[in-house]
């Protein structure tokens, strides 16, 4: 993939005002793309107008919902690339309301792909999948040969959403691939509450001077990618023909347990309190234990590896939210 791959190309990003979508949009603007964002701005999800602060004049925004078949049918036309990032991402919400999760993570994905098949078969699609579809790992690190056995409805629906993309690639030639993202962090993530990720609420509470909570003994391992590294992976996947029909794990070389992560964040914040609390039953029932990924497939195929060390990335993220707290609380 050269610098020119995206220059003057038309790029559609679903979930474009969300965390990853808006960081991707910023990069694409730098690369000279014509960027169109689609976002529903559903308040509980990740879209935030401030996420596109400073690039508003250089992009187009269409407020609509990926569940709206008619708007999507129109919006995919004449696009060169589609980064398909819109999704319901809360595991707990998917258990409380499995139908909404189904509509967004399954049905809307089908209708986006149908729109591509019927109206723009030359588009290239990258789908944001998730490590959640593996469920509780049978072995570590988890590679792409690991069985899929999700622990919650969100995981089941994301699994289906991912495979719709692969089927449309294989049967209809709508070039598509999927990245199975692990924990992603960085500027513009949702930190308002603990709906999507514990890391967001930790950031907010540390900055607010409130204690952060670690469930049980915090020995579960996780790997973390800075959003800039995830943006690299999205661009590499879109820019390479070798990606089509493939699924790729993202991941990091330095998994860390949640207790150590909490301590690191307190240190980087210059203070803070950690409380160890019992696992809430509704979370425990869908918890996956330790997880970290083997990302050799994308490394070998597309040359991707994360570049931003956790310590450095977290420090910059805390700085971002200290400056912009009012926009994200």
């Amino acid at each position: 993939m050269s610098q020119e791959t995206f220059a003057s190309r038309r790029v559609l990003i679903t979930g474009g005002m969300g965390f990853i979508g808006s960081n991707l949009a910023r990069r694409l603007v730098e690369l000279g793309s014509e960027v169109l964002l689609v976002d529903s701005l559903v308040p509980e999800y990740g879209g935030n107008l401030f996420n596109i602060d400073g690039i508003q004049q250089r992009i187009k925004v269409n407020i609509s919902d990926v569940r709206d078949e008619y708007s999507m049918k129109y919006l995919v036309q004449a696009q060169d690339y589609l980064f398909n990032l819109a999704g319901q991402t809360s595991h707990l919400d998917s258990m409380r309301d499995p139908y909404t999760d189904l509509e967004i993570n399954c049905r809307a994905q089908l209708s986006i792909l149908e729109a591509c098949r019927r109206h723009n078969r030359n588009i290239k699609v990258v789908f944001a999948s998730t490590r959640q579809i593996y469920g509780a790992p049978d072995y570590l690190p988890v590679d792409e040969r690991h069985l899929l056995h999700p622990t919650d409805i969100n995981g089941v629906n994301k699994m289906a959403g991912e495979w719709y993309h692969i089927v449309y690639n294989n049967v209809y030639g709508v070039r598509s691939c999927a990245l199975r993202l692990t924990n992603t962090y960085g500027p513009r993530m949702r930190v308002k509450d603990d709906r999507q990720t514990f890391l967001g609420i930790w950031i907010r509470r540390l900055i607010e001077g409130k204690p952060i909570e670690v469930f049980d003994d915090g020995r579960q391992l996780r790997d973390f990618n800075h959003v800039d590294d995830v943006v690299d992976a999205l661009l590499l996947a879109a820019g390479s023909d070798e990606a089509k029909g493939q699924v790729f794990n993202l991941g990091a070389d330095d998994p860390i347990n949640l207790r150590d992560l909490a301590e690191l964040m307190v240190e980087l914040n210059g203070g803070g309190e950690i409380r160890f609390v019992p696992f809430p039953p509704d979370r425990k029932a869908i918890d996956i234990g330790s997880y970290y990924a083997d990302f050799q497939r994308i490394h070998r195929t597309l040359g991707w590896a994360p570049r931003i060390p956790l310590r450095k990335g977290l420090a910059a993220t805390l700085d971002f939210y200290r400056t912009h707290a009012a926009r994200y609380w």
Copy 2:
């Protein structure tokens, strides 16, 4: 599982007037169960009133669609067992109309499970899954450690439907398991056209004295279960606590290629013509090549193995349709 497991127990079968459902109902009536069938009788699917000929007075029938959340909410109550067999089974139809497949194979499954969770958490559920979710095998025979990589939308949606059951088992304690059925044949299968299985239309055309079609050279291997063996497996799975949360392949020890199968059927029919024709492109695009299953997991766990030899089962099946042609054409 003893003979008494199902005596005087209340059993709900979705898709109960279909091929497998009606054969299961007949067995359960013999075992003394109180059987309630749910079927939509959608003309293109497998439900057929003649399938319950002779047992009508000993069962209850409720005509409704599993997509009807309200009827299902009522019907699952006070049942001891649910055999969840209703589904859209045509691979080609799932590609032409992915939304209907989604509604039946995903959304309806979720609403059935929600009904069980909210209104009858003591029910035991057996879900009819399918080998289709494996896609084109990476190795043969295919065991349950084989990755799921379906080739069509039906496969993706059945995969999701299966995993909803496992998630509701693991998270909510709604005891559920899934059998991954391979090609099933026998009396009461749909033979009207080639929508569900080539075997049905072969039976009809042989009896009608018309040629049967084998795609390409017919070297693809398949394994076949007689429906009575599948009924055994369903009952064993429902009757054992060791099944809960598990997925099990069904299969047979004697895979056969489609060319040999066609010749066997011509022989059993006492005549017939076989035509070798090119694979239709829409079928080729979702074909899985050779497939046969390793069914050791269910053999070890539940003691199941198929008992009916293919030759004997097919001969009896041809006899059945010769006698009852008018009811199935």
